[in-house]
Symmetry: C2
Subunit: 352 residues, 2 copies
């Protein structure tokens, strides 16, 4: 187990700091400190304005203060627009390397291709892990069947950032609580940092997305009975839909969970992309499976609804409305658990 310091300067909050919060909440490693000078002196729950995790983990001023907590690894814990390394952070990375820390980065820009950082890491004998770097191998999907008895569940949704990774992680935890043999399959940078492995699907060449996902899912279904595959993007997203379809056709799921953020009706960042009705969004995800596998339908078994920021009453209302609209069980995984979703998946698999 590693001892991680997380660099999230100026950005340790829920939205832009989602890699940081994800790793603190779900990671297997110990987080010893979070670097954000704007919140130095608080602990993690204080800095986040309330959180059910990270009690006692200090938020510190800079890498020098973080080093007093003896980390062996520094994680870049934000995903800035554009994906470049903020130049103001460079000295902190160099200081971390000088002190023997390995570096983990989910940035679009590969730190291991930065001359200064690479040279410093080589000299000090530490590693730089760019989690978004795609594998060198290529593979076209072969449409191979999964191990009989395995259950592959893919998380789809109405948009990016609607809780697909969280729902997948929580269902993996829930399944293991129930004594099932379960695994989480990471497909994005935060998930990969949490799991320690995975595939950065948004960086794979389009010809090979489905094939590389298929290979990874086949490997997991050989080893595990329940395989929860983190989703990406949305079929109704004008930019990222190819990533989503590659995940669907590559993972060839037995069931899906549909994720949505309460109160949203439009793709974030676009002015003219209203969501189709909830029921229709569910159908179109199901239909894409039938395009290539008409003899064995894949159904959405339930909904994961993000109700962050709503009162308990309004959250329950939003969930009830989603259930009424779709006829499927719904929950906010972080507020009300994922028991109803695991129940629905188990029922569905028993009836297949």
């Amino acid at each position: 187990m590693r001892r991680i310091a997380i660099l999230a300067e100026g950005a340790f909050e829920w939205h832009y700091g989602k890699t940081a919060t994800g790793v603190i909440r779900y990671g297997k490693d110990t987080v010893v400190a979070v670097i954000d000078s704007t919140k130095a002196g608080m602990d993690v729950p204080q800095a986040l304005g309330g959180a059910s995790f990270g009690q006692g983990i200090p938020v510190v001023r800079d890498i020098h203060e973080a080093l007093t907590y003896q980390p062996d690894s520094l994680l870049i814990g934000i995903a800035p627009m554009g994906g470049a390394l903020p130049e103001a952070w460079r000295w902190q990375l160099l200081a971390a390397i000088d002190n023997g820390l390995d570096i983990t980065s989910g940035l679009h820009f590969f730190l291991s291709e930065d001359e200064e950082l690479r040279a410093a890491a080589a000299k000090r004998g530490v590693t730089i892990w760019d989690v978004r770097r795609p594998p060198d191998t290529t593979r076209v999907a072969q449409f191979l069947p999964h191990r009989p008895g395995s259950h592959t569940v893919l998380f789809v949704g109405s948009d990016c950032a609607v809780g697909k990774m969280t729902a997948a992680l929580e269902l993996d935890i829930e399944a293991r609580k129930r004594g099932l043999d379960s695994a989480f399959v990471a497909t994005g940078q935060t998930g990969i940092v949490i799991a320690g492995n995975g595939l950065p699907v948004d960086r794979i060449i389009s010809d090979f997305v489905a094939g590389m996902v298929e290979q990874m899912v086949l490997d997991f279904t050989r080893e595990h009975d329940w395989v929860f595959v983190e989703g990406q993007g949305a079929l109704n997203h004008p930019g990222y839909s190819p990533v989503t379809l590659g995940l669907i056709h590559g993972s060839m799921p037995d069931a899906m969970i549909f994720c949505h953020k309460a109160g949203t009706s439009m793709i974030e960042g676009y002015t003219a992309c209203p969501f189709p009705p909830l029921k229709r969004m569910i159908e179109l995800n199901e239909e894409t499976v039938s395009w290539v596998r008409p003899d064995r339908p894949c159904k959405v078994a339930g909904l994961s609804i993000v109700t962050f920021g709503l009162s308990d009453e309004k959250a329950r209302d939003a969930i009830k409305r989603a259930e009424d609209e779709t006829g499927l069980p719904a929950t906010d995984p972080l507020r009300y658990g994922v028991g109803v979703l695991m129940d629905a998946l188990s029922r569905q698999s028993a009836s297949q």
Copy 2:
């Protein structure tokens, strides 16, 4: 205009030689010779067992014989499985470079990254153009409207290699014959060699496929009234569907032409991927546009049916059946022209 020799050793026939035949038929440059020692002494139509193009273009033994026809450029005219450079061809490439020829290659493997070839080209001052090399830039789709009055037509289909490029090229020719301002937009290696520009969409990172296609199509629709976008893959293809969806959501077409090969019922190269019914395949392509643009549907206006190898009677039968099944006009572009498709597109655009 260049003078091209095409290297297609052992593969100058319809299927594996489709880059060679495409460039001879549709390219703007002069093809002076085709290299294939197994058919040396024939001309192009003889070597192909009959063809309506390439009369008088000699098929020759090797690069030395080709050089007597004074080419200024050598094109690798085949797409071998795996995409590597057959080692047996290396000396011919080196001889071409030594004699001052530029090299154009559509191989997956980039010739400009081969040390020996790169050094030889640099020394002799010739260029190596790897048409599959994707641009260095990245771009996420912004869902921007096309110039009003422009018509974007995308070619979709039941599988790879069902005549999408040919149908697009023939409609571009037909539109210009009718005095319309028209352009062909290349998205695959053969199309790019023919057009002299384009985007190798199957090599673009999945996050950026739609965005890069959007940029290219926006550029073309600013300049031209009719924009015919070469399609790739199929939505019902288990490996390449993300490429197809990226093309649809990136090009945001006003109309589509559906391409199909008569008599086929299954994705080529897969044992368990039957096509959905023709009518359903058409619908599902149309539906993907509505996912992001529900207020303005995009319809398939007609069908392009490959009837290669069938008697005239059987070809007409196959086309008639497709028309009856779908209620749309159909044709084999190479046998019966694309007039009915251009008529249908014009009617449809007039009624919008």
